[in-house]
């Protein structure tokens, strides 16, 4: 029982970060039908920014807003330089473009910075814990879960209660008709990339605090988690993406602690196998998006 509760908290902490990443992936997929394999690059770029700042003596208090701002800016620049040129192209073209961005960003850091891993100091409190009964809870997980809940509440408010959110949802459902209503496609798409960058920035803060390092390929792991979680939840569903993030985080933690030691190192593989199983039974993910007008 205690172990399960412990897993639950650890899994929610991990899942929170995945949920933020997946939500960013889902927002972009919603408006552009782009499965963004360059999403992790936001963490690569902001990771280098954090590394330069932190190794030149800037405190984490300043690094946090820096990471978020760099992530948003990177997202907007990538949209401007790459994705705005392939708007309305086939899903396959969009997919290839996002792969292209992924490799180009990686190559830039390889060529102009360094191929090696760069370390930076992690904030001291990251590994501090407190106890509730026999549970040992990390302050880090506590903060991650709280910040994620606040972020999700704010995003829900944005999407449900503001005109921008409404235009985003309308454009995601039917871009042409949204334009007929006077919704400006540039504003919606840039807004979606800014939101996606903000979410990746918040996730990135926690990701980098825990990692304490970056390298040219640092974006692959967060990208995989975000894309997988969005797929698990059912692409196109924002709620599904968040759910998918939490499910993925919990699955990883529970499997790692429950699998026999001999195969615990294969957790990643087991997770992939489970995801494959999920898609056999529910090809659309956990939450299936239905778009049928009843007559």
């Amino acid at each position: 029982m205690t172990e399960l509760l412990q897993n639950l908290i650890d899994g929610l902490g991990r899942g929170s970060i995945y949920a933020l990443l997946a939500l960013g992936v889902a927002v972009i997929f919603g408006v552009m039908h782009l499965l963004n394999f360059a999403h992790g690059e936001l963490i690569t770029v902001s990771g280098y920014a954090a590394m330069w700042a932190l190794t030149s003596g800037v405190s984490w208090w300043l690094a946090v807003p820096l990471i978020i701002v760099v992530s948003i800016a990177t997202s907007l620049v990538i949209e401007r330089v790459a994705f705005s040129r392939v708007r309305g192209a086939s899903d396959f073209t969009l997919l290839l473009t996002s792969f292209g961005v992924h490799f180009v960003v990686q190559a830039i850091f390889l060529l102009y910075v360094s191929a090696s891993v760069k370390n930076f100091p992690r904030p001291g409190w990251v590994s501090n814990t407190y106890s509730i009964g026999s549970l040992k809870v990390e302050w880090f997980d506590t903060v991650v879960i709280l910040v994620t809940l606040i972020t999700l509440a704010a995003v829900t408010y944005l999407l449900q209660r503001t005109m921008f959110g409404l235009s985003l949802r309308a454009a995601a459902a039917d871009f042409d008709t949204a334009r007929l209503m006077g919704v400006n496609s540039n504003n919606v798409i840039r807004g979606a990339f800014a939101l996606s960058g903000l979410l990746a920035g918040i996730a990135g803060v926690f990701w980098l605090m825990r990692a304490g390092q970056t390298q040219p390929s640092a974006g692959i792991d967060p990208m995989l988690k975000g894309v997988l979680a969005a797929l698990i939840g059912g692409l196109g569903s924002l709620r599904g993406a968040v759910l998918g993030g939490f499910v993925l985080g919990l699955a990883e933690v529970v499997l790692r602690s429950q699998l026999p030691d001999s195969i615990a190192s294969l957790t990643e593989g087991v997770v992939f196998a489970l995801i494959a199983l999920l898609f056999i039974f529910r090809p659309g993910g956990l939450i299936t998006v239905a778009h049928a007008e009843r007559v």
Binding site: L166, A173, M181, A292, R294
Partner: protein, 259 residues
């Protein structure tokens, strides 16, 4: 299903700066409009005009180019030749978001309501270009004018019946306070009783002074409801006249069903 009780909304309060031409003056003029899909001309050298206060019908068989014509006027498709002049401005090729602001609104074919958004949200997005302060009053107006919608105000629009969805699509288009309302086959796929509701709605919109351009396959009903009409066939305007004149021309009806 309840019938729509339409109380005329004020027409003189369009959101655009430019004055609307007075009753009987030309509001929209389409000249020599040609639109192609690849090498195929779906619309060839079309001429058409709509005067302020008129209900103008656009009829023709399936594939005649009616949707292409409305889509080109509304800025969803780019024309290959010709001009569209609205309220004296050349708006040829302008994007639809700009056209909406200048007072042109389209109820698209198949309604295209946002099924995941509630009825209220659909209407709100229809008033996207309005100043924030104007929206509540217009929403109230729509709730009053479409009682069916008021009953389902917070229901996702995907749960509406076809007739309700059509009223929502029209209400959504009216939210932008258009000077010219264009509708593409509003009676498509509706049961006969609901077709009556749509034509009643067109009648009351006309009575309230609205200017409307309607595409219909239901030719006889449309000609009876319209002040004037155009007949489109294979991408070309082949006839024009008052509703009664065209109704009398049996030759026009040999080639397509819908009468």
């Amino acid at each position: 299903m309840a019938k729509t009780c339409w109380s005329p909304p004020s027409v003189a309060d369009s959101q655009s700066e430019r004055p609307t031409p007075g009753a009987g003056e030309t509001l929209l003029r389409v000249s020599g409009l040609t639109t192609k899909y690849g090498a195929i001309s779906a619309l060839r050298d079309a001429d058409l005009h709509v005067n302020t206060g008129e209900v103008v019908g656009l009829i023709g068989p399936n594939g005649a180019g009616k949707t292409t014509l409305l889509g080109t006027i509304a800025g969803l498709l780019a024309p290959d030749a010709g001009t569209v002049v609205f309220k004296g401005d050349d708006i040829t090729g302008a994007p639809s978001e700009q056209l909406l602001r200048s007072g042109l609104s389209l109820v698209p074919e198949h309604r295209r309501i946002f099924v995941d958004l509630t009825v209220e949200e659909n209407l709100k997005i229809g008033g996207f270009t309005l100043p924030k302060a104007d929206r509540p009053a217009l929403l109230d107006e729509m709730a009053e004018q479409f009682p069916v919608l008021r009953e389902k105000w917070t229901t996702p629009a995907g749960y509406l019946s076809g007739g309700e969805a059509q009223q929502l699509a029209i209400g959504r288009a009216l939210m932008s306070k258009p000077d010219l309302l264009m509708m593409d086959e509003p009676s498509l796929g509706l049961a006969p009783l609901l077709v009556d509701v749509v034509f009643d709605l067109i009648d009351s919109l006309r009575a309230s002074g609205r200017t409307i351009l309607v595409v219909e396959q239901n030719a006889t009903r449309m000609l009876a409801a319209a002040d004037r009409a155009y007949v489109l066939r294979s991408g070309e305007v082949v006839a024009e006249g008052s509703g009664d004149e065209l109704l009398a021309r049996s030759d026009l009806f040999d080639t397509f069903v819908g009468g």
